[in-house]
């Protein structure tokens, strides 16, 4: 697996280049999501108080961390092949390593912040349970899902330059329909809407499952776990398939 080393090098490069010359450097990877989390807490925790949820800030944080990982990953992966155009045009190596490195850098930040949030949540709520053993599995599925999505948007954006703007426009409403700052049960009694919010949004079951094990201290429903596993496999294979199909002309289009 010679290209594992290339992958490692691209991750290093990504880490170094993104915030080069800035005083805080790599710390920005942590500061950005933390500021975002602070802002959302201000909005939903203090201004529009949703008091019916216990330990609301923790409830909010667990969901937010997952969302931020997903959205930051796909947003930064989308233009990544164009940004590395010099490499793509002049060297032949597995192109999938470029968006792969972007998502992996986000994964590292995500795991750091998630660990902080999880420790506080579990300490405050006393939700340490065997259910937590499922977390690595769910996170692996989340990574696979996000990577598959990132592969698809990065290769599509290389050919159709509208993809990244469409994606960034879509992420805001997507955030609001995801169960991040609300519980699906508490906002609708209509079964059709409830099912749509639960299953129609592929990121929702990931948020639900991760929140169940960290915030709730319970094993997620079998249906949620099955959805998470299936979504991971389908998205990763689908994204990889699309990427492989479209990557031949990359050196010409980027």
């Amino acid at each position: 697996m010679a290209y594992r080393y290339l992958f490692e090098q691209l991750v290093r490069r990504e880490l170094r280049q993104k915030y080069k010359g800035s005083a805080l450097g790599v710390a920005w990877y942590l500061i950005n999501p933390l500021v975002l989390m602070g802002a959302y807490y201000l909005m939903f925790g203090l201004i529009f108080k949703l008091d019916d949820i216990e330990h609301y800030p923790l409830f909010l944080m667990v969901g937010l961390v997952v969302w931020i990982f997903f959205s930051q990953s796909v947003l930064s992966a989308a233009p990544s092949l164009l940004e590395q155009g010099a490499l793509v045009r002049k060297a032949s190596f597995p192109r999938v390593a470029i968006p792969g490195a972007v998502v992996s850098v986000q994964l590292v930040t995500f795991l750091v912040i998630l660990a902080l949030v999880a420790i506080v949540t579990i300490a405050v709520r006393g939700t340490l349970d065997v259910a937590l053993l499922l977390l690595p599995l769910i996170l692996a599925c989340l990574y696979a899902f996000t990577l598959g999505f990132a592969l698809a948007v990065s290769i599509l954006h290389a050919y159709f330059r509208d993809v990244a703007p469409i994606l960034s426009a879509a992420l805001l409403p997507w955030f609001f329909v995801s169960p991040i700052f609300f519980q699906i049960d508490s906002i609708t009694r209509n079964d059709a809407y409830r099912h749509l919010l639960e299953w129609g949004n592929p990121i929702a079951p990931f948020i639900t499952a991760i929140r169940d094990v960290i915030y709730g201290g319970v094993v997620p429903q079998a249906g949620v776990l099955a959805y998470v596993a299936a979504a991971a496999v389908v998205m990763l294979l689908g994204g990889k398939w699309l990427f492989d199909r479209m990557q031949d002309e990359l050196a010409v289009v980027v």
């Binding site: 080393y5 080069k20 490499l87 002049k90 060297a91 032949s92 190596f93 050919y159 050196a251």
Partner: protein, 276 residues
């Protein structure tokens, strides 16, 4: 620069085969398509027609051969190298390039400007498919060859363009190549360093590597290559020994000066060597 496994297992290491290879490029200013174009029809109307960079080119190069590729700007030389290195696929035909292919299409193409020279050796080596241990083995030789001295630990952004190219060449020159594809990158550094590069390539050829060299430097081609391929308008117009090929090339360029710029000029007289 790039290095990767064989494009086709059907050829020997160092062997190159192109069969009826054709490749066209769109020459629109904005190469990416927007979604609107995809929805309302595939491409914008008007604009220049695609350029046929390669037109039904067939050639076979045996392991260990040294081949110069010449022709006017836009004749398809660089496209041929990009096809051989696997960066750009063919529209039609077949390409096979055996063994480890090291393509030097643009020295230092993958350099991270904020990284030191040393870090870039690792980054670039990785791009060529090497792992850490393989790069460490070559590290000292690469640094010595580049003559960068203490600058090797300074960010590449601080390098002069000559230093940049010297580092790029030094890395590429220390990969084990079965096929060397070199595009006009030998004008590296001062004359002494250029001689050193040529000597390095000569030693790789002596070790059995196949060389395909694109250059406008006729003297360099004559010094380095035994065989020459002349491309014109994407077609192979001459393929034979260098002592016959270069006069053919000079005549082609001579006639070209007064000729209509659009239509490829008629090929003068029956040249010696294999006419295609």
């Amino acid at each position: 620069m790039s290095r990767r496994p064989a494009l086709d297992a059907g050829v020997a290491p160092g062997e190159i085969v192109l069969e009826h290879a054709s490749r066209a490029f769109s020459v629109k200013a904005d190469r990416g398509r927007t979604l609107k174009e995809m929805l309302i029809g595939r491409t914008r109307a008007g604009g220049p027609a695609p350029v046929q960079a390669l037109r039904d080119v067939s050639l076979r190069i045996a392991p260990g051969e040294t081949v110069g590729m010449v022709g006017r700007n836009g004749a398809g030389k660089s496209s041929t190298l990009r096809v051989l290195s696997g960066i750009v696929p063919l529209n039609a035909g077949r390409v096979a390039c055996g063994g480890q292919v090291v393509a030097q299409l643009e020295l230092g193409a993958g350099f991270g400007r904020d990284f030191s020279g040393r870090e870039n050796i690792f980054l670039n080596g990785a791009l060529h498919g090497l792992v850490r241990e393989q790069i460490e083995e070559r590290l000292d030789a690469i640094i010595e060859f580049s003559e960068l001295g203490d600058f090797i630990d300074a960010p590449v952004a601080t390098y002069s363009s000559g230093m940049f190219l010297r580092l790029g060449f030094s890395i590429a020159a220390h990969l084990d190549a079965d096929v060397l594809l070199i595009d006009e990158v030998l004008a590296v550094g001062d004359e002494a360093f250029q001689r050193k590069c040529e000597a390095r390539i000569a030693s790789q050829i002596a070790a059995g590597a196949t060389l395909v060299l694109v250059s406008h430097d006729a003297a360099l081609i004559e010094r380095t290559c035994e065989r020459v391929i002349v491309l014109d308008g994407g077609e192979k117009v001459f393929d034979g020994p260098v002592r016959e090929g270069m006069p053919f090339y000079h005549r082609l360029m001579g006639t070209a000066e007064g000729a209509d710029a659009v239509a490829p000029p008629p090929v003068p007289g029956e040249p010696p060597g294999e006419r295609v």
